[in-house]
C-alpha cells in the first residue's frame, strides 16, 4: 500500500519520488519476506554451517557490533578444521543415511497411497459423518510423537493390551513387535498421514468440475476420470504433500528414540545423539548439512517434476462444484476412513486410559483409576494453556502472511530459491535450529533470546513449510487471469493478492493452518530450549513431565491438548465456513 501514501503527498523531491514510484507494494513485501528469511533463517543456518568447522557457537550478528565477540569468534574460526567431516567417512553414517532414506521414502509412498482415497472422500464426496471424521483425522497430528509412541507401546508392547488379548486368543508371541522398524513405519504412517491429507484435500477441492464432466462425457467411467483427470490435476498438490511427509518422516526422531529397536541407525537420530548426548555440535552440524543436502535434492526433484504443471484449473469462468454422492463410493470410503483411524484412535484411547490410571503395570488394564493427574494438570498449568494458544496464534499469523506471499512468488514469479529456503526448516532438527537461534540472537544488536517474540518467530519458521506446502498446491491451481483482472481494475499486486488470490487460496490456507497450529501447540524441541519461563506452553509441561517419568500426568496433559485443539478447530471451521471439507 505504499503507493497510497505516495500519491497523497505533495509532489516534490522528484528524483526520489521517481525512484519510489518504481517500487510497488509487492516488491516491498518481497524485500520484507527476504529480510525475514535472511534474519531468521539464513543467518542461523549459516552459523550452523560455521559450527560444523568450529564445533563452538558462532555469533554473527554480535560480531558486527561487539569487538570482543568478534575477537572470540575469529579465534574460534581460526581453530576451524575439517576434522569433524571425517565423521562422514565412517560406515555408520552412510548406512544411517540409507536407512533414513528408505524409511522416509517408504513412509511417504504408503501415506500418499492411503491419503488419496481419504482426500477424495473429504474433498469430493458426500461421505457420511464427514465433519466428525475430519476432526478425527486431525487428531493424530496433535499427539506429541513421544505420546503416540508411548500409546503404541501400551498397545503392542510385550505386556500391551493388544498383545495380551492376542495371547489370550491362544496365539504365541506378539502381534507386532513394538520395538522394530515395522512399528516405526506404522506409527509414522498412521500419525503423520494428516500432514499429507489436508494439503491433498485442498488440492482436490480446487479442481475444475467441468473437466471431469468432459471426461465422463467422452465415455470414461468414474474411476477412469478419477485416475486420468482428477488425479493428475491434483498431482502438484500430491507431490507437495509427499515431500512434506518425506521430510517429516526423515527428520522425526521421537518415534525411533522411544521405540528404540535393535541396531537403530537413522541419520536424524545420529544427529540428535551427537548434539543431545555428547554436545558434539560439529558432528550434529555436519549431519544437519547432509540432511539439508538430501532435502535439497528432493526439492529439486519436486520442482523438476511439477515444473510444467501450472495448470491453472481455477479459471475466471467460474463453475459450481458438485460432490460425488454415489452410495457405493461414499460407503466404501467411509469404511476405509474408519479403518485408517482404528490404529491411531486406539493408541490415543490407550493414552486416555493411561491419563486416568493410578499406575499401569503388566495387567490388561491399569491398576486403578483416578482424576488426580487432571487435577495436577489444572492446578499446575492453567496459564500454560493460554500461553500455548497465544504462541501458536502468533506463529500462525506470521506463517499465513509469509506463506501466502512465498507461494505467490514461487508460483507466479518462479522464485524457487524462496521455496527451497523456506522449506529447509522441515529438515533441520528442531534442537539444531533452536541452538542456532540462541547463538544468533543472544547478544546485541538483536538480543531476542528469552523473549516470546523470538519463540513465536522460531515456531513460525519451523512450521511454515507446512503452510507453504499446502498453499503452494492451491496457488498453482489459480489461473492468473483472475489476478490480472484485479490488477487491471486498479488493485496493486499486493492488494490483488490480499483480496483475490488470498480468499481463493483459503482451502490451502485452512489446511496449512491446521498443520501449523497443531504442530506448534505440540512442539517441544525448540520450546524446551527457548521458552521463557513466564511463557511456558503446554507442550513444555508435557515434555517435562515425561522427563520426570510422570507419564500419567503427561498423558493427561496430552489429552488436554487434544481436546483444546478440537475445540479451537471447530470454532475456526465455523468462522471460515468449512472451506476445507
Amino acid at each position: 500500500m505504499s503507493s497510497v501514501n505516495q500519491d497523497k503527498q505533495p509532489k516534490k523531491d522528484t528524483k526520489f519520488r521517481g525512484w519510489l514510484r518504481t517500487i510497488d507494494s509487492l516488491k516491498v513485501m518481497k524485500w520484507v519476506v527476504y529480510l525475514f528469511f535472511f534474519l531468521f533463517l539464513v543467518l542461523p543456518l549459516v552459523s550452523v554451517f560455521l559450527v560444523s568447522f568450529t564445533g563452538q557457537p558462532v555469533n554473527l550478528l554480535g560480531s558486527l557490533v561487539n569487538p570482543d565477540i568478534m575477537a572470540t569468534n575469529i579465534e574460534r574460526l581460526s581453530n576451524a578444521s575439517f576434522e569433524h567431516y571425517s565423521l562422514l567417512l565412517g560406515g555408520t553414517y552412510f548406512s544411517a543415511l540409507q536407512n533414513s532414506l528408505a524409511l522416509a521414502i517408504g513412509v511417504s509412498i504408503l501415506v500418499i497411497l492411503m491419503c488419496i482415497p481419504l482426500a477424495y472422500a473429504f474433498a469430493r464426496t458426500t461421505m457420511p459423518y464427514k465433519k466428525t471424521l475430519a476432526a478425527l483425522c486431525t487428531i493424530p497430528l496433535i499427539v506429541p510423537t513421544f505420546i503416540s509412541a508411548a500409546g503404541f507401546i501400551i498397545m503392542f508392547g510385550r505386556t500391551g493390551w493388544v498383545n495380551t488379548m492376542y495371547q489370550s486368543l491362544g496365539f504365541d508371541g506378539v502381534l507386532i513387535d513394538a520395538y522394530s522398524m515395522t512399528s516405526i513405519v506404522l506409527i509414522q504412517v498412521f500419525f503423520f498421514f494428516p500432514f499429507a491429507l489436508w494439503p491433498m484435500v485442498a488440492a482436490f477441492k480446487i479442481a475444475d468440475i467441468s473437466l471431469e464432466e468432459a471426461s465422463n462425457n467422452m465415455g470414461a467411467k468414474n474411476w477412469s476420470t478419477m485416475v486420468f483427470i482428477t488425479f493428475p490435476l491434483a498431482i502438484p498438490g500430491i507431490i507437495s504433500a509427499a515431500l512434506l511427509i518425506f521430510t517429516v518422516s526423515f527428520s522425526d526422531f521421537g518415534t525411533p528414540i522411544i521405540l528404540a529397536p535393535d541396531g537403530l541407525n537413522l541419520i536424524v537420530v545420529e544427529a540428535y545423539r551427537e548434539i543431545s548426548g555428547f554436545f558434539n555440535w560439529a558432528g550434529a552440524s555436519i549431519l544437519t548439512i547432509v540432511m539439508v543436502a538430501v532435502a535439497a535434492i528432493f526439492f529439486w526433484l519436486q520442482r523438476y517434476v511439477t515444473k510444467n504443471m501450472d495448470y491453472g484449473t481455477l479459471s475466471g469462468k467460474p463453475k459450481g462444484t458438485k460432490l460425488n454422492d454415489s452410495k457405493i463410493v461414499t460407503r466404501s470410503l467411509l469404511v476405509f476412513t474408519i479403518l485408517v483411524l482404528v490404529l491411531p484412535m486406539s493408541a490415543i484411547f490407550s493414552v486416555l486410559l493411561q491419563s486416568f490410571a493410578t499406575t499401569w503395570g503388566t495387567g490388561l488394564l491399569p491398576r486403578g483409576f483416578t482424576m488426580d493427574h487432571y487435577a495436577t494438570v489444572f492446578t499446575r498449568s492453567g496459564d500454560n494453556i493460554l500461553n500455548s494458544i497465544l504462541l501458536a496464534g502468533g506463529a500462525l499469523i506470521i506463517s499465513v502472511i509469509v506463506a501466502t506471499l512465498v507461494s505467490y512468488f514461487v508460483v507466479r514469479e518462479n522464485t524457487s530459491k524462496l521455496d527451497f529456503m523456506s522449506s529447509i526448516p522441515l529438515i533441520v532438527p528442531g534442537i539444531a535450529l533452536g541452538i542456532a537461534y540462541i547463538q544468533t540472537f543472544n547478544t546485541a544488536p538483536l538480543q531476542l533470546t528469552g523473549t516470546a517474540f523470538l519463540l513465536i518467530v522460531a515456531y513460525a519458521v519451523r512450521r511454515m513449510p507446512y503452510m507453504i506446502r499446502s498453499t503452494m498446491g492451491t496457488m498453482m491451481a489459480i489461473k492468473s487471469d483472475i489476478e490480472e483482472a484485479a490488477v487491471n481494475l486498479g488493485a496493486s499486486k499486493l492488494v490483488a493478492i490480499i483480496t483475490v488470490v488470498g480468499p481463493l487460496m483459503l482451502p490451502g490456507i485452512a489446511a496449512g493452518s491446521i498443520l501449523v497450529f497443531v504442530t506448534v501447540i505440540k512442539e517441544t524441541s525448540i520450546t524446551v530450549l527457548m521458552a521463557p519461563s513466564d511463557w511456558a506452553p503446554m507442550s513444555l509441561m508435557v515434555f517435562q513431565n515425561l522427563l520426570r517419568g510422570e507419564v500419567y500426568t503427561a498423558s493427561a496433559m496430552a489429552m488436554l491438548i487434544i481436546v483444546l485443539v478440537i475445540i479451537l478447530q471447530t470454532a475456526a471451521n465455523k468462522i471460515t465456513k468449512n472451506s476445507l471439507y
Binding site: Q56, P57, N59, G62, I69, G90, G91, T92, S95, A96, I153, I154, G157, R158, T159, Y179, I257, I258, L259, A260, P261, D262, G263, L264, N265, V269, Y272, R273, I275, S276, G277, F278, F279, W281, T359, W360, G361, T362, R367, I431, I435, I438, Q439, N442, T443, Q447, T449, G450, V528, L529, A531, P532, S533, D534, W535, Q544, L547, R548, G549, E550
Partner: protein, 320 residues
C-alpha cells in the same frame, strides 16, 4: 529464559539451570530465598538441553549456577567447552579429590559434588523375585534375563556409556567387548534416554533395567512396583554443581552453591531420596554411603573422560 531479574529488594537474583526434579529445586530455592533474600530463577529442562543452551549462550551467558546432570560426565565435557569456571565453596574447601574412592570434586574445583548417584538395576517386583537378582553385572548374561532387560543406548546416553566404560576398564578391551556382545543379545530394547529403561520396567515392558538409584525410588514413591538393586562392583558417582563462567550474578551464584552444600541444603536433598554428601545429614534413601562402600567400583574418572568418545564410537561400529 532465566535472565536474572535486576532490582529485587533483597540481594538481587540468581539464575539456576537444573535438570533435577523441579519440586526439589523449588524447595531449595525457597529455602535459599528465605535465608538470603536473593530471588532464585530456576530453569528446568533435560541435562542435554541445558548444556546446549549454555554453550549457545556462551557469548552472553544467562545462567549463574548449573546443578545436576546425572553424574559428572556432562560437567567434564563442559570443561572442554569452557562455559563453567572454578569455585571453591568455603564449607568443603578441605575435600580431597577422592573421598572414599569416589571422586567428589574436580581437581581445579570446576565442579563440586553435592550428592551421590549409584548405577544399578531397577526391577519390577511383580516380575522378579528377590532371590533371582543378579549378584554381579556378569550374572546379567544368564538366560533368565534373555530379552527381559533394557539399558540405555551408549551411543546416546551418558549413563550407559558409564556402564560400558566401567566394564571395559574392569575386564580389558577384548574381554569387555565380548561381554557386551552377549549383553546386547539380552536386551529387548535400548532406548536413547537414560530414564527410559526404568520407565519400561515399571510398565512391565522389561523385567529389569539399568538406571540410577533415585529413579527407582522416586517411581516407587509414586506407587509403581519397582525396586532398586545394587550389583557388586558398580560405578558410583557424585552429582555436581558448578558456577557458570561470566554469569550475570556471580556472587549470588557462589552463595547458592554454598547453600547447596550447607547442612540445610543437604537435608532437603536427603528428603528427596538423594544420598547426601554431608556425613552429618541422615540419608532417607534405603542406600547409605557406608553400605555402598563395598559395592563401589574403583573408577578412574580420568580414564573414563579420555576414552568417552572412543568407546561410544566403537559401540556404534559394533552394534549398528
Amino acid at each position: 529464559g532465566g535472565n536474572g531479574d535486576e532490582g529485587n529488594e533483597g540481594g538481587g537474583s540468581v539464575s539456576v539451570y537444573s535438570p533435577e526434579t523441579p519440586e526439589m529445586t523449588e524447595e531449595l530455592a525457597q529455602a535459599f530465598e528465605e535465608e538470603t533474600g536473593i530471588t532464585v530463577n530456576v530453569s528446568y529442562a533435560g541435562t542435554n538441553n541445558l548444556v546446549n543452551q549454555m554453550i549457545a549462550e556462551m557469548d552472553n551467558p544467562q545462567a549463574d549456577v548449573w546443578y545436576g546432570g546425572g553424574g559428572i560426565l556432562p560437567f567434564e565435557s563442559a570443561i572442554e567447552h569452557g562455559f563453567i569456571e572454578p569455585y571453591t565453596p568455603e564449607a568443603v574447601s578441605d575435600w580431597d579429590v577422592y573421598e572414599n574412592d569416589i571422586k567428589v570434586r574436580h581437581e581445579d574445583w570446576m565442579w563440586t559434588g553435592v550428592e551421590v548417584f549409584v548405577l544399578g538395576l531397577v526391577y519390577n517386583t511383580e516380575l522378579v523375585d528377590e532371590d533371582e537378582l543378579p549378584e554381579t553385572w556378569d550374572d546379567l548374561l544368564d538366560e533368565r534375563w534373555e530379552n527381559e532387560l533394557q539399558m540405555p543406548n551408549p551411543a546416546a546416553s551418558g549413563t550407559a556409556t558409564l556402564l560400558v566404560l566401567s566394564q571395559l576398564m574392569e575386564k580389558g578391551e577384548d574381554e569387555g567387548w565380548e561381554y557386551f556382545d552377549q549383553l546386547y543379545e539380552q536386551m529387548n530394547a535400548m532406548p536413547d534416554s537414560g530414564g527410559a529403561p526404568s520407565q519400561a520396567t515399571g510398565t512391565g515392558e522389561a523385567e529389569m533395567g539399568v538406571g540410577f538409584d533415585f529413579m527407582a525410588y522416586q517411581m516407587q514413591e509414586r506407587g509403581e512396583t519397582v525396586d532398586f538393586h545394587v550389583p557388586e562392583n558398580t560405578p558410583i558417582l557424585v552429582n555436581p554443581v558448578s558456577l557458570v563462567e561470566n554469569g550475570p550474578n556471580p556472587e549470588n551464584g557462589q552463595k547458592f552453591i554454598d547453600f547447596m552444600l550447607s547442612e540445610q541444603g543437604q537435608e532437603i536433598k536427603a528428603d528427596w531420596k538423594h544420598i547426601p554428601m554431608d556425613p552429618n545429614v541422615e540419608s532417607q534413601s534405603p542406600l547409605t554411603l557406608d553400605e555402598l562402600q563395598d559395592s563401589a567400583m574403583d573408577l578412574d574418572i580420568d580414564w573414563v573422560v579420555d576414552n568417552y568418545d572412543d568407546v561410544r564410537n566403537q559401540w556404534r561400529e559394533r552394534y549398528q
